[in-house]
């Protein structure tokens, strides 16, 4: 696994484990916001949503939008 593949794997893993949360997309986005360093976030934003589960993809889009809006 290269670094981007690993980030995709990690995001999917987070999404799977937070799928039972009341608001899973927000929970995944919050988790990534709290624990990933800026470069990791930038890398996955640049990668886009390919290979991401629907929850993970929505969370990444949410974070990317927030970043761009800021």
């Amino acid at each position: 696994m290269n670094s981007v593949e690993r980030l995709v794997h990690m995001a999917n893993q987070i999404a799977t484990n937070l799928a039972t949360d009341a608001a899973p997309v927000a929970a995944v986005a919050d988790h990534i916001q709290q624990f990933w360093d800026p470069r990791m976030k930038k890398m996955i934003f640049a990668h886009g949503t390919a290979g991401l589960s629907p929850i993970a993809a929505a969370a990444i889009s949410l974070l990317a939008d927030a970043q761009n809006g800021a």
Partner: protein, 952 residues
């Protein structure tokens, strides 16, 4: 202070709340009911002669030396076995008693060698003291048959057994039974033929079941069992109380010294974590501190292919600072980072993270807790509001049901395991606690002398969450949940949501049995016992955290404890058994990249401002890189410099090939350690470290207990580790001027609310303090969440079982799980450099007889252990401790490098590696793998030190 033996009150303390007043030798004394006359006398300062009594074990009444006269009683009762009674009038010294005692001593001495002047215990021998105390001047017996001249047993590397000096008082046997709980020692023969045996008549101490904890040596009143070091150098002349640097139990020891030479480490009776007990590591395995392989001078090299060059400290700091500045200028400040050590003190750890945040200008700091208990931090903070374990160790005394999951306390936390075993055996008519063990292996505690788990659930590795959810299913669907507790303490809606989830038929034990391989009826019975058996306490270790669902498992444990009301009082709770001596402290000190000291997120502006104002810098509000992320970034070419204090990531972290690729890609790896460890093979700068005997500071153990570490000798390398970090920071341009670690603790206390009341002065006064230490709790907090959870309401979190991505298949059909054993510690850097190798000279692969037979493997055969990540070879041992389909090994030896085969799958929330589940194949082998051969060559090449040219 000058040398004084620790006080011995003769018999154990009584815990009774009632008191009794009596008169001893004309003086009134008031003691708790149930106290012996001997102890009552000792507490008022009267020493009654004794030989078979010592306060670590129950009274025995065999030596007949402690006889006293009591008004209204016939004869002369033994004071050790006579409990006090109200109004009792006792005389301890009368002419009649003196005559009796002298007669008893005369008999003892008639069969004891009179070589006091050349005896190792000369001056520290109770027999000698008592002979003096009773005034024995002559031995009238012309003894024909004696026990003298028997062969000594030198087999144990740390102590000798000389049966000729034994007075058959049985203190050693009772210490082994009652204190350690191994029951290895016994009295062989009867009457005149009585002789202490280490097990079977054919056993010596090394080959027997003795675990070398030292309790027998401590209990022996003569030189029968004596430390080899005392034989070699003589008795100590002073002592200093300090804290052990091995596991998270945090035993308090007296370092007993002659000048600057350590003679022995003796467990301290007033130590609140260990209560006077020890294990083979803390008691004996400190020889690494003076090992010839210790590096004492700083060393540098341009490239890892060059030999090392010794330099003076000034040059080392200047060079290190210039390299770090060069890399920061060339690649940006985020190309730098560091790792704090769970083996160093709180003060040292705090300084390393401060150097990184304030000096390097980023949050790329992590600690070895990443690879052990980071899921505990996440899981307990989410559910309870703080990542702390909830109890003190004493709490186990009030536990009725002990649930151990993913922990092997008799090997990993042996001193606490002894206390656990004492509670499991029951005492003084009180029945023992019940035991549930959830572990793929039949660990020693499942069945050992006088202990048998009511339920052992040998689950398939990787299915912890499924097992705990199934237990929750039983508790909720059978109406065993403590709804009153939940309504009062927890969020009821979240509970209802969780209860609805666990009640689903898919989460029943029967439905999950094919996944977990745990018998559904047995699981139901275990769940009922935990929920209804009285005070239930959960103890867990790395078998919980080191999984892809490590954090979920911690939360599932917290759910179970809340659902059954087992939180907030003595005897219950959720107890993470921390691996290393200061892993709790390292986490507390802000070693994680996303949070500052006291578990406050780096994005929190108020907290950041507190630190910014104190440190005079601006802090980055974004979280930094965790260890695996640093390695990924290094491989990507953007992370270039690492300051690694007291951790050996190349051996301890998973997927060695990936770790070495990451390290090899860096331009400046700084290793600050005692030895040229495996990581140092890839280092450019080596800063020699100091041992726990050579510095001042504090460690925080698994029960949040902050304990002093005291310097007993000058650092052989010249500087304490905090001084090394400070000098490096100064070379980087930071204005740091600490003159003592107490000033660092003052800064920690100033910036961390849970440490507000901590200072070295308070610690000296109290001995130790359990955080939070605040204005509300100035003496610390033994039990957490007493009046409510730290977060307010306890939070139930739904933990759905998600199978790991690491799958078995035709190529890799077995599951490997890794762990450790009693005599070795972590990567073995310390214990491999002690005589402990006598017990564990190499890592072995445990394999079930069926799997072994399928592969034609016998015990002692070399086998190849291969996974998708890599392969290594080691020797096999065939045993049914592991289930079919599961193999197990330890990771203590660099030659084996078990982590060559572990993968980089990790916990979803924290990236804690999944050490406990790797799909592997085993096959016969006739030699080391290519990796092992190449690695050995690299190590030899990398450890060359340039020899200086002699001056003319």
């Amino acid at each position: 202070m000058t040398y004084q033996p620790q006080n011995d009150f003769g018999t154990p303390e009584s815990r009774s709340d009632e008191t009794v007043s009596l008169t001893i030798d004309g003086r009134n004394v008031t003691v708790p009911a149930g106290t012996s006359v001997m102890r009552a006398a000792a507490e008022q300062g009267t020493s009654i002669p004794k030989l078979c009594a010592t306060d670590s074990v129950k009274s025995f009444g065999s030596c007949r030396l402690c006889l006293v006269e009591i008004d209204g009683r016939r004869g002369t009762p033994a004071s050790c076995t006579t409990p006090v009674e109200p109004g009792m009038v006792v005389r301890t010294q009368t002419p009649h008693l003196a005559k009796l005692r002298k007669g008893v001593m005369e008999l003892y001495i008639s069969d004891h060698p009179l070589d006091c002047l050349t005896c190792a215990a000369n001056g520290d021998c109770e027999l000698q003291d008592q002979a003096g105390a009773v005034g024995l001047r002559d031995v009238r017996y012309d003894v024909q048959a004696t026990h003298l001249g028997q062969e000594k047993d030198h087999s144990n590397p740390y102590f000798d057994f000389d049966p000729s000096k034994c007075i058959a008082c049985s203190r050693c046997i009772r210490a082994c039974d009652e204190v350690q709980g191994t029951l290895a020692l016994t009295m062989e023969g009867r009457g005149w033929d009585s002789k202490i045996s280490a097990g079977l008549a054919s056993d010596n101490f090394l080959e027997s079941e003795c675990v070398s904890c030292g309790a027998c040596v401590q209990a022996c009143p003569t030189a029968t069992l004596v430390e080899k070091k005392v034989v070699e150098v003589g008795t100590p002349e002073r002592s200093v109380v300090t804290t052990c640097a091995y596991c998270g139990v945090g035993c308090t020891f007296r370092a007993e010294m002659r000048g600057e030479q350590l003679v022995r480490m003796v467990p301290y009776k007033d130590g609140k974590a260990n209560r006077g007990h020890s294990c083979v590591k803390g008691r004996f395995a400190w020889g690494y501190a003076q090992h010839q392989e210790r590096i004492l001078k700083p060393m540098i090299r341009k490239s890892i292919s060059d030999p090392w060059r010794e330099v003076e400290w000034d040059e080392a700091f200047a060079y290190t600072a210039s390299e770090l500045k060069r890399i920061s200028a060339k690649y940006g400040r985020n190309a730098l980072g560091g790792i704090t050590s769970s083996r160093c003190t709180n003060e040292e750890t705090f300084l390393v993270q401060k150097l990184i945040r304030a000096g390097f200008g980023n949050n790329n700091v992590d600690t070895c807790a990443r690879v052990c208990h980071s899921p505990t931090g996440y899981g307990l903070k989410t559910t309870f509001g703080t990542s702390a374990g909830t109890q003190d160790f004493d709490s186990v005394e009030d536990t009725d049901v002990i649930l151990i999951i993913g922990a092997n306390p008799t090997d990993g936390h042996p001193v606490f395991a002894s206390r656990m075993k004492r509670r499991l055996r029951g005492q003084d008519g009180r029945p023992g606690a019940k035991l549930i063990v959830i572990d793929p292996r039949r660990t020693d505690i499942v069945r050992s002398p006088h202990i048998e788990a009511q339920h052992h659930l040998p689950l398939r590795p990787g299915t912890n969450v499924a097992v705990l959810t199934a237990m929750a299913h039983v508790i909720v669907t059978e109406g065993l949940a403590d709804e009153a507790f939940i309504r009062e303490r927890c969020d009821w809606d979240e509970y209802s949501h969780w209860a609805e989830f666990v009640s689903q038929a898919r989460n029943s034990p029967e439905n999950l049995q094919p996944v977990t391989l745990v018998d559904a009826e047995e699981l139901r019975a275990a769940a009922r016992l935990y929920a209804t058996g009285g005070n239930g306490a959960i103890y867990y270790g790395l078998g919980v955290t080191e999984h892809s669902q490590g954090s979920s498992t911690v939360m599932a444990i917290a759910n179970l404890a809340m659902a059954t009301g087992n939180i907030g009082r003595r005897g219950v709770g959720v107890n993470p058994l921390r691996g290393q001596n200061n892993v709790q402290g390292a986490c507390d000190m802000g070693s994680f990249p996303h949070e500052l000291a006291g578990y406050r997120h780096i994005s929190d502006g108020n907290t950041r401002k507190l630190f910014e104002d104190d440190w005079g810098v601006t802090l980055d509000p974004e979280p930094g890189l965790r260890i695996p992320n640093m390695l990924d970034a290094a491989v990507d070419g953007v992370f270039k410099a690492l300051y690694c204090q007291g951790e050996d990531i190349l051996q301890s972290d998973p997927n060695t090939a990936h770790v070495s690729a990451g390290l090899a890609a860096m331009e400046c790896v700084i290793v600050h350690d005692l030895f040229l460890n495996e990581t140092a093979n890839y280092a450019h700068i080596f800063l020699p470290g100091s041992t726990f005997l050579e510095k001042n500071g504090t460690f925080t153990n698994a029960e949040r207990r902050i304990q002093p570490v005291r310097k007993v000798m000058t650092p052989m390398n010249g500087l304490e580790d905090w001084e090394v970090t400070q000098r490096l920071a100064q070379a980087m341009g930071l204005d740091w001027n600490y003159t003592h670690p107490s000033e660092i603790m003052d800064e920690i206390a100033r910036l961390t609310p849970t440490f507000a009341g901590v200072s070295f002065a308070r610690l000296d006064e109290a001995g130790s303090l359990q955080w939070p230490v605040t204005a509300d709790a100035p003496d610390g907090s033994p039990i957490m969440h007493v009046d409510g959870f730290v977060r307010g309401k306890g939070k139930f979190v739904v933990t759905d079982y998600v199978p790991t991505d690491e799958k078995t298949g035709p190529r890799f059909p077995l599951l490997l799980t890794t762990g450790r054993i009693l005599s070795q510690y972590n990567v073995g850097a310390q214990t491999r450099r002690t005589e402990n190798v006598a017990w564990h000279p190499e890592d072995l692969l445990e394999i079930h007889p069926v799997d072994a037979e399928d592969r034609g493997v016998k015990s002692g055969d070399w086998v190849k252990l291969a996974s998708r990540a890599g392969e290594t070879t080691l020797r096999a041992t065939v045993t049914d401790r592991v289930a079919p389909g599961v193999v197990y090994t330890t990771f203590h030896h660099a030659v084996t490098q078990a982590n060559v085969v572990t993968t980089d799958f990790s916990d979803w929330a924290t990236n804690c590696p999944e050490y406990k589940v790797t799909a592997v194949q085993i096959s016969a082998s006739n030699g080391p793998t290519e990796w092992q051969e190449e690695y050995e060559a690299l190590s030899t090449r990398s450890r060359r030190v340039e020899t200086g040219i002699a001056a003319e």
